[in-house]
């Protein structure tokens, strides 16, 4: 269970203060597919970074399994990211000097798996996203959609509790975008909790729930009955 209490993030620029997210409170139950929508600058990506422990909020709490992760050390936050969270970035953010398999293996090795075990798990994840035949390709040898699928495989390879996706289809054509969204839906069907930021209303509606943001505040929080 992921829970947010009175979460606020303020950026300072000289004497000016910009409130990126403003006193947000909500929770995400296990197995939910949540989308965060809103126009550019509404604070949705900033919210995702706070939830995903990539940034430290100005105030408020981010609770994972009832433990507030805001005051913990950087090392512990890194360990939580490694073991409990998975990330998919808009521009894939896969490591250019590593192959698809190596990108997926890396977090597993960090978790303490042997290379053989890590490779076995990584191959399963790559199979899940339909890339088993491209495991030895470097990112430069893959299309944008394939790179995003490597990012998804890396995010799911270590069985995280929550997957965070920041506009994962923003750089993809519509056909590839649909494949990526289908992958998310399939993962969610297996019980995977997913929080995805998106611009696309049609993709947002496919999730269980959609939070819409404007000026750092939640302007709507709706359950999508037509989901899946």
């Amino acid at each position: 269970m992921l829970q947010v209490e009175h979460l606020t993030k303020i950026f300072k620029s000289g004497d000016q203060e910009i409130i990126a997210i403003n006193d947000l409170s909500f929770s995400v139950p296990v197995g939910q597919f949540l989308t965060i929508a809103g126009r550019s600058g509404s604070g949705k990506s900033t919210l995702l970074y706070q939830l995903g422990l990539l940034d430290i909020p100005t105030s408020g709490k981010v609770l994972i399994d009832d433990v507030d992760m805001v005051p913990v050390s950087e090392n512990e936050r890194t360990a939580v990211r490694l073991n409990d969270l998975g990330y998919i970035f808009q521009d894939y953010a896969i490591l250019p000097s590593l192959t698809a398999l190596e990108n997926t293996v890396l977090p597993l090795l960090m978790q303490g798996y042997t290379i053989a075990q890590a490779e076995a798990k990584a191959k399963k994840a790559l199979e899940k996203v339909g890339l088993l035949d491209r495991i030895n390709n470097l990112p430069s040898q893959l299309s944008g959609g394939q790179q995003q699928r490597v990012a998804i495989a890396r995010a799911i390879g270590h069985d995280p509790k929550v997957i965070f996706a920041d506009e994962p289809t923003a750089n993809l054509d519509s056909e590839t975008s649909e494949q990526v969204i289908k992958t998310f839906l399939d993962l969610n069907k297996e019980g995977q909790t997913i929080i995805m930021v998106t611009h696309e209303p049609e993709y947002a509606k496919l999730a269980h729930r959609t939070i819409t943001m404007n000026d750092g505040k939640i302007v709507s929080d709706v359950m999508n009955h037509k989901s899946h």
């Binding site: 360990a79 073991n83 970035f89 490591l95 000097s97 293996v105 890396l106 977090p107 960090m110 978790q111």
Partner: protein, 425 residues
């Protein structure tokens, strides 16, 4: 939060992931850049080993020649207040029973006056050119077997056993070879093969023909006039066989200290002074060696600093241009220590490969080359001194310095904010 998250990543996990990253980075790095870094490391290592090694080698070459040709591994010489070794034949027979004994040479010596132009007419108030020095008596065959003295005859020929009227003369005594005309320094002029010199020892005087000129870079030969033992004994008035020096060579692997102890245990210490080559080494030579070593290390230290800066820049540029890469690694949960180790491993590998190539060059090429072709210095044949322990120490210094030089910039970049690094802010 799962139990797994509460477990701090262990050193071995960080080390394993660090190596995994480093290996792939090295494998996929630009080969020219890698080659250049390794070349810098190799040159740094050579600078560390070879500069000091050659400086020390100048003195070591002189010491080695002294040991090999002049005094051997162990030497028995007259006490300072005596002019000969008492009971030399007895001492010589004991010497031949040393375990590991290989060879010996018995030499006689006396202080002498050498004159070259004594036949010319001089004006009132002038004196004949002459110099003081040592008249050294040898058994030509025994000496040849011991030191191979004949190889140092640069002009003329070596002595035969019946050359009662001939001598060899060291080049340092001749103006032609040592053209020093400083006040207080004298040498013999106009000496060629066949010239006659007059030798005066303790009132005894005799003319000898110069049969050969010696250039050995060993003072005992280059600063002396060498004749037959029988002649020197006659000139110094020695009717017995008591000699000035017995130089002893031991078989390879024989401990000279044990040989010295053997001689002392057998009473040789009562008749003469027993020293190993190390004991007999002049202190100034050891001081010079230490000074050259310090000098060489100081020069090498500059090279080490340059190499450290090179690695610092390489790793810094690598880390700073891959700030986003590092951010992503941290973002997906890779411990910052693992990332740090990956850069340290890379620095370590660069240094290690440089050292391995350097070792091959030192022990496989440079050292054998200098051994076969010593550097021709006026006072010695310079060699490269590079022993395993000293070389390993220098290799360790280079490795540690390089890893530290890789650690600092990597640490600087890794500690930056993860999200800022990912987003390229």
């Amino acid at each position: 939060m799962s139990d797994r998250t509460r477990i701090e990543n262990s050193f071995s996990q960080n080390a394993k992931v660090g190596w995994y990253l480093a290996k792939r980075d090295l494998k996929r790095a630009n080969k020219w850049t890698t080659g250049l870094i390794v070349l810098v490391m190799t040159f740094t290592f050579l600078n560390l080993v070879v500069v000091a090694g050659i400086l020390v080698g100048l003195i070591q070459g002189s010491e080695d020649a002294q040991k090999k040709y002049a005094i051997g591994d162990v030497v028995v010489s007259q006490f300072l207040n005596m002019s000969y070794i008492e009971q030399t034949p007895t001492v010589s027979s004991i010497v031949q029973t040393i375990p590991g004994f290989k060879d010996e040479t018995v030499r006689y010596s006396g202080s002498a006056q050498f004159e070259s132009d004594y036949r010319s007419t001089i004006k009132p108030g002038e004196v004949h050119g002459g110099i003081g020095g040592t008249f050294l008596g040898i058994d030509p065959d025994q000496e040849q077997k011991f030191s191979g003295l004949s190889r140092f005859v640069i002009k003329g020929s070596y002595l035969n056993a019946d050359d009662q009227d001939s001598v060899l003369i060291g080049k340092n005594l001749l103006y032609e070879y040592t053209p020093i005309d400083a006040p207080g320094f004298q040498n013999l002029k106009n000496i060629t093969i066949g010239s006659r010199i007059r030798i005066t020892v303790a009132g005894n005087q005799k003319e000898y023909y110069v049969k050969g000129i010696i250039s050995s870079k060993v003072d005992q030969f280059d600063n002396t006039v060498i004749g037959l033992s029988s002649e020197v004994r006659k000139m110094i008035g020695r009717t017995d066989l008591n000699a000035g020096t017995i130089a002893i060579q031991l078989l390879p692997g024989t401990d000279p200290v044990a040989a010295k102890q053997f001689l002392l245990d057998n009473g040789v210490g009562e008749f003469g002074r027993v020293q190993t080559a190390a004991d007999a080494e002049p202190k100034f030579l050891q001081d010079m060696k230490n000074t050259f070593n310090i000098l060489g290390s100081a020069i090498s230290g500059i090279g080490l600093v340059v190499a450290s800066i090179t690695i610092f820049i390489v790793i810094f540029v690598n880390a700073i241009t891959r700030r986003r890469y590092i951010g992503i690694l941290k973002g997906v949960g890779i411990n910052r220590k693992a990332i740090l180790y990956s850069y340290m491993y890379q620095a370590f590998v660069y240094a290690l490969v440089g050292i391995v190539i350097g070792m091959f060059l030192v022990f496989g090429v440079i050292k054998p080359y200098f051994a076969a072709n010593p550097i021709n210095f006026p006072f010695s044949d310079g060699i490269l001194v590079a022993d395993i322990s000293g070389t390993m120490l220098r290799a360790a210094i280079l490795l540690i310095t390089t890893v530290v030089a890789g650690y600092i910039p990597a640490k600087m970049v890794i500690k930056q904010n993860t999200l800022s690094a990912i987003l390229g802010r």
